[in-house]
């Protein structure tokens, strides 16, 4: 970790040696640094889980809320103060499992936040149960007969829901990850980066090597604007796993859509005058 990085604050974490989270937090710090953001203007939100501890280790504003509930406070904070750069770092269980309903509806809401899912295909903090992205058949201490559920494809799901920025990266490709993060942060609207992340303690299937062998960067020629193609691309999983911006489309975000939020002034600085309220009361006469 570069010491001059202004987002550095500690090297002490509760993560296991060898965990993919280290590379993710490094890439995050580097992307924030390269975007030259001011720490006090950045808010990083997590739920609960190993990934969700990220805000604890950053020199930014931080909000560690409830398991599965990272998106609602994050988008609300952005709506209230769009001068904040709002980023969500959280686990696959948090984002797609307990938090699934917020995931699907916040894609629809399209608030300008960047959502970084540390997708280790497992529940880390609770010691290794299946997550929504765990492969079918994988045996755990709870899925003793193997997971029977079809794994979720978050990339495909997000595109289907109408997300305007959908990317995948891998904690083993720090520079690529950093670039994805920067693009997601700069994108105006909800931006998802699903980050493949080895969990050395509990996921013995999807290891660093497993991912490393499979991931490949999208070809230069790939057209990230073609939705149907993007959907097709997002179905690629197995021997080859594409990383990069799978789909991108520019559109107006939540605050652009509501006239009083679209200007310079942020909601946190607005005030309803008492005279206005007096008028409302009169209407009941």
């Amino acid at each position: 970790m570069e010491n001059k990085n202004k987002f550095n604050v500690t090297d002490e974490t509760a993560w296991c040696p060898g965990c993919g989270n280290f590379a993710i937090i490094d890439s995050l710090k580097n992307s924030l640094n390269e975007l030259d953001l001011d720490p006090y203007k950045v808010l990083v939100v997590g739920g609960i889980g190993q990934a969700a501890k990220t805000p604890q280790y950053l020199n930014t504003n931080g909000f560690c809320g409830l398991h599965g509930r990272s998106l609602p406070p994050a988008v609300a904070a952005k709506i209230v103060n769009k001068e904040l750069t709002v980023i969500i770092n959280t686990g696959d269980g948090d984002a797609y499992g307990e938090g699934g309903n917020h995931f699907i509806h916040n894609v629809r809401r399209n608030v300008n936040v960047a959502h970084f899912v540390h997708d280790n295909q497992i529940y880390g903090l609770t010691k290794g149960q299946a997550s929504p992205t765990t492969e079918k058949g994988q045996v755990t201490k709870v899925q003793t007969m193997g997971s029977v559920n079809l794994p979720m494809n978050p990339i495909l799901l997000a595109i289907s829901l109408g997300a305007g920025f959908v990317a995948r990266s891998f904690s083993g490709r720090k520079d690529h990850l950093k670039e994805m993060m920067k693009k997601a942060i700069e994108y105006n609207g909800y931006a998802l980066v699903d980050i493949l992340q080895p969990c050395v303690s509990f996921n013995k299937v999807n290891t660093f090597q497993w991912y490393n062998k499979r991931v490949y960067e999208l070809e230069k020629s790939y057209d990230e604007k073609d939705r149907l193609k993007a959907i097709e691309k997002s179905m690629e999983w197995g021997d080859k796993i594409p990383i990069g911006v799978i789909y991108k489309e520019n559109k107006s975000s939540y605050t652009d859509n509501i006239n009083f939020l679209s200007g310079e002034e942020t909601l946190v600085d607005m005030s309803t005058s008492l005279d206005t309220v007096r008028g409302y009361i009169q209407e009941f006469k």
Binding site: K53, Q56, F63, C64, R69, V80, N101, V268, Q282, K285
Partner: protein
């Protein structure tokens, strides 16, 4: 003078429009009004009714005795005629198969066909009602303009009212109204106005009867007052969004009924743990679960005061009437900000929906106390241990280089996760310490009645209105009675009640539930137990008259 009109029919027959026009006319004529609504949980059909009571004196309860029934269908007559006073009358379609000297038929079908619009039947009936009370057509045009907006509709409805006028003769003798220039408002609108007055900028909720009208009112001012009203995907999102908005610096609120509150329980604890101010409106209906969606009950009290795992300070205010609802909502925001705690405003369907005439809320009494720091010298930590447990709060992104870190895990002063026993005890004590200071701010219950009473009635929240009238009536009957009605209810204010129970041999809790929850919390806090209970849990609100009867019954004076 005190008249009570019931308008009954099935959902979709436009009863809400008729009664609203009638109420507005009565309001303009300077009467005091108290209107209750009895709806079924459906959009069309079934049996609904509205009771408009008006008087020249202030009234605070509905009454079960009727002077006039406006029957939009025959079922209405069957169901309600037994409640008609001796001199009471019924009006309805002249073709109704109903023979009684109390019944006066109006050719609603015929006239509406003549007018060429079958939806004006209600307006015809309005005209007839006005005539029965000897009112002329003052104010009507204005009211119709506001109600219908489209010229064409205004004209046909005006015609209809005039036709209705011609159908009947004056029967009731009413003195002229002489109240001040009042507003006509219900409890939920008052909460909504209170939130706007408090400068709430973010209201996130998921629709749920009978709380939805808070959201609807604020939404009607969304653009003009610049308030984000966000319909969340579920109640969990609603409360977590409100917490995020509050963290980011605005006043934020969420609202729901019991079932939605159940889903917000985890979020309630989050607000408390993060020490992020939050106001939550909980509008009760009969449970368990879905229960009676459109009816009233006060059965969520114990649930609300203890909900969520672990231990933390919270404030629960049960609102008593529309004016109280307005000012307590403002106060709820101030207390939430001052102590950085969740404040729950409890209401119920009865007060949510009843409309009554009150003095316009005095905006000059509204204060907005944010307790937010704009400058910080030296290091900033979010959870500084302080004497009163409240730590300096700043808005993230507003003070250069100062960061705000909050965490639902147990944390140290800086907001970082801790596993230390010592830190834990310090933080838990800090949070709980706020309660000591909060207790000094509690508002004691409202007292009314006879200081020398032998009977003490206890109630909370919306029971205020019915109890007030009941106490008045009981004392007129020489049954010496006094009452305490709690608004602040958790922490429980204990000074007044400890005084008032002394030497009383009948302490009666009057509650709209089956287990007497107020009694239970008084027992827990004071080891004082009620001797008798007046409880109701059929979804229909206790009226002043019912309370009087049941008190008489308890003291065996029938």
């Amino acid at each position: 003078m005190d008249y009570n009109i019931l308008i009954g029919g099935s959902a979709g027959q436009g009863m809400e429009t008729i009664s609203s026009i009638l109420e507005k006319i009565l309001q303009k004529r300077r009467y005091e009004i108290f209107t209750t609504r009895d709806y079924m949980s459906r959009i069309r059909g079934g049996h609904n009714f509205i009771q408009i009571r008006f008087s020249i004196d202030k009234i605070t309860s509905h009454s079960d005795k009727l002077d006039l029934i406006v029957a939009l269908n025959e079922e209405t007559i069957d169901i309600h005629k037994k409640r008609l006073k001796n001199k009471g009358i019924i009006i309805g379609e002249k073709d109704f198969n109903y023979n009684d000297k109390k019944f006066m038929g109006i050719p609603l079908n015929e006239i509406s066909k003549k007018i060429g619009n079958l939806r004006v039947k209600g307006s015809i009936a309005v005209g007839s009602v006005l005539k029965l009370f000897g009112f002329n057509n003052d104010f009507i045009m204005d009211i119709l303009k506001k109600t219908f907006k489209k010229d064409e509709l205004i004209t046909v409805n005006m015609n209809a009212i005039e036709e209705g006028f011609n159908c009947l003769e004056k029967i009731f003798d009413v003195p002229k109204g002489n109240s001040k220039d009042k507003i006509l408002i219900n409890g939920n609108e008052s909460i909504a106005l209170g939130a706007i007055a408090a400068n709430c900028k973010f209201y996130s909720a998921y629709p749920m009867t009978p709380s939805t009208s808070i959201m609807t009112y604020i939404a009607s001012k969304m653009e003009e007052a610049q308030i984000v009203v966000e319909q969340a995907e579920d109640e969990i999102a609603a409360i977590n969004m409100a917490i995020g908005a509050s963290y980011a610096g605005v006043r934020a609120m969420t609202g729901t009924s019991g079932g939605g509150f159940a889903l917000k329980v985890e979020g309630l604890g989050l607000a408390a743990m993060l020490e992020t101010p939050l106001v939550i409106a909980e509008v009760q209906r009969p449970g368990p679960t879905t229960g009676f969606p459109t009816r009233t009950e006060q059965s969520d009290l114990k649930f609300i005061i203890t909900s969520a795992q672990g231990e933390f300070p919270r404030m629960v205010i049960s609102v008593k009437h529309p004016e109280d609802a307005f000012f307590q909502t403002v106060r709820a925001f101030n207390l939430a900000d001052k102590y950085q705690i969740p404040v729950v405003i409890m209401n119920d369907q009865f007060l949510a929906d009843y409309t009554t005439t009150v003095d316009p809320f005095d905006i000059d009494k509204v204060t907005r106390d944010r307790y937010i720091d704009n400058f910080i010298h030296g290091e900033y930590v979010r959870y500084k241990i302080t004497k009163n447990g409240v730590s300096p709060r700043i808005i993230p992104g507003k003070i250069k280089d100062k960061l705000v870190l909050v965490d639902s895990d147990e944390h140290d002063e800086s907001g970082h996760i801790t596993e230390s026993a010592e830190d834990r005890v310090k933080m838990n004590d800090k949070r709980m310490r706020k309660l000591d200071y909060l207790k000094d701010e509690l508002i004691e219950p409202d007292f009314f009645g006879n200081k020398e009473a032998d009977i003490l009635l206890l109630g909370w929240g919306s029971m205020h209105g019915p109890l007030k009238e009941a106490v008045k009536e009981l004392n007129i009957l020489n049954i010496k009675t006094k009452a305490l009605v709690f608004g602040d209810i958790w922490p429980l204010p204990t000074k007044l009640i400890q005084n008032e129970v002394k030497g009383i041999n009948k302490i009666i809790n009057v509650e709209q539930n089956a287990t007497g929850q107020l009694n239970l919390i008084i027992k827990e806090v004071l080891c004082v137990s009620c001797t008798d209970s007046i409880l109701k849990y059929d979804g229909r609100q206790l009226s002043a008259g019912e309370i009087v009867d049941r008190v008489k019954n308890i003291i065996k004076l029938k």
